[in-house]
Amino acid sequence: MKVKLLFFAGLREQLGVAGEDIELPEGVGTVAALRSHLAKRGGAWREALAEGRLVRMSVNQDMANPSAALRAGDEVAFFPPVTGG
């Protein structure tokens, strides 16, 4: 299935990309699995999405837990802890 990825702030800069549409391989069905999948690209991806790094995730513009399930067409965003206000 296809999902839309978005990256913001320091994470966007580190990855050098603001977003992309990707086809998820079999077995990548949660936000946590997607994160691991992307980290396996290596380089900046491994570094930015490594398990120790504080990364927040949302699905369809709702904050999501790592265990949140993904469905075709979802908008999944990765970003650092927020610093507005």
């Binding site: 978005l6 913001f8 702030a9 320091g10 504080l54 949302s58 513009q61 709702d62 904050m63 965003a77 970003f79 650092p80 802890p81 927020v82 610093t83 507005g84 206000g85």
Partner: protein, 151 residues
Amino acid sequence: MKISVQRQDFDAGAEIRALSRDPKVGAVASFVGVVREVAMMLEHYPGMTEREIGRIVEEAGTRWKVMDCTVIHRHGELKPTDQIVLVAVASAHRGDAFAACEFIMDYLKTRAPFWKKERTALGARWVEARASDDAAAERWQPRIAEPKKVG
């Protein structure tokens, strides 16, 4: 309820005035955040930002008697002394207005998808999230009751 994420500045006085047109309103508590010393760029997540602020305001409405509320948050390039954010809450009485306004600010700081990049003399750097902001939001959490022992 008015929620706006915008580049342009706002007039806090006009927003406060708009909240007090209802003769049942007796109190408008408000907060204006201002850029301190260092210029910055404020990035946000269009769409999610408005939704998240809407949820924060709705949550405040379940806890206090909120009659109306306005939240304006700017994004883009901002310089020292520029206004960043306005939260204004109208209520019949001041206790509700103050509490809801502070609650919304605390949650905005920890939940609304905004990121500040400071333009320092040594170059640009992303502001790190502060533990004190998490602590400020945390104090509004209901204490989880101890599970009852089943005899």
